[in-house]
Amino acid sequence: SQKIEQNSEALNIQEGKTATLTCNYTNYSPAYLQWYRQDPGRGPVFLLLIRENEKEKRKERLKVTFDTTLKQSLFHITASQPADSATYLCALRSGSARQLTFGSGTQLTVLP
């Protein structure tokens, strides 16, 4: 069956360090993958999109990699700040599907 897995446990890191979040998938052939940020009690906010033929995307302090052989995407936040504390969701869309499918998210806490 199709499955999307993100870091099952919450991630705590020290301010200034690089946070790395993982999104693994099975039985998908994703056309693209997206990362969203969600704060408590709020809706998700789109951050980055990476297509199946792209290896890496960057936006300011954010970097996403996509390895279709490993079936994995890594999401990096460099020079992390306490304001980066949130839940980060990955979402996949297969070429044949109409919809995005979301992972369960990873809760990140950046400690001052």
């Binding site: 056309a31 997206q34 809706g43 998700p44 999109l49 869309r93 109409r98």
Partner: protein
């Protein structure tokens, strides 16, 4: 900056009662989505509209849930009767129809509203 509007933000109801949620997408966005998100999980699609037409409601429990988007703009999601297991955050999102590259699928960057937190007692 344009936003997706939802109301109410919070709703407490007793089981077997009817509840309704309203969503106003970003102006010009043809695609509208309703999601349910249980605490600690990712959003799960309930129904997707393209203009006024339903394009995917395969995960909508149709015995108690209904959704409409009569004029292809705002939308209402209804639950009747509500059950204890319906307690969750109900999220609305909208997206523009952005063509894919070289004939590939559209990149549906979705813009979410603040959600409605439903508690069924």
């Amino acid at each position: 900056e344009a936003e997706v509007a939802q109301s109410p933000r919070y709703k407490i109801t007793e089981k077997s009662q009817a509840v309704a949620f309203w969503c106003d997408p970003i102006s010009g966005h043809a695609t509208l989505y309703w999601y349910r998100q249980i605490l600690g999980q990712g959003p799960e699609l309930l129904v997707q509209f393209q203009d006024e037409s339903v394009v995917d409601d395969s995960q909508l429990p149709k015995d108690r849930f209904s959704a409409e988007r009569l004029k292809g703009v705002d939308s209402t999601l209804k639950i009747q009767p509500a059950e204890l297991g319906d307690s969750a955050m109900y999220l609305c999102a909208s997206s523009a129809n952005t063509p894919g590259l070289a004939g590939g699928p559209r990149t549906d960057t979705q813009y979410f509203g603040p959600g409605t937190r439903l508690t069924v007692l």
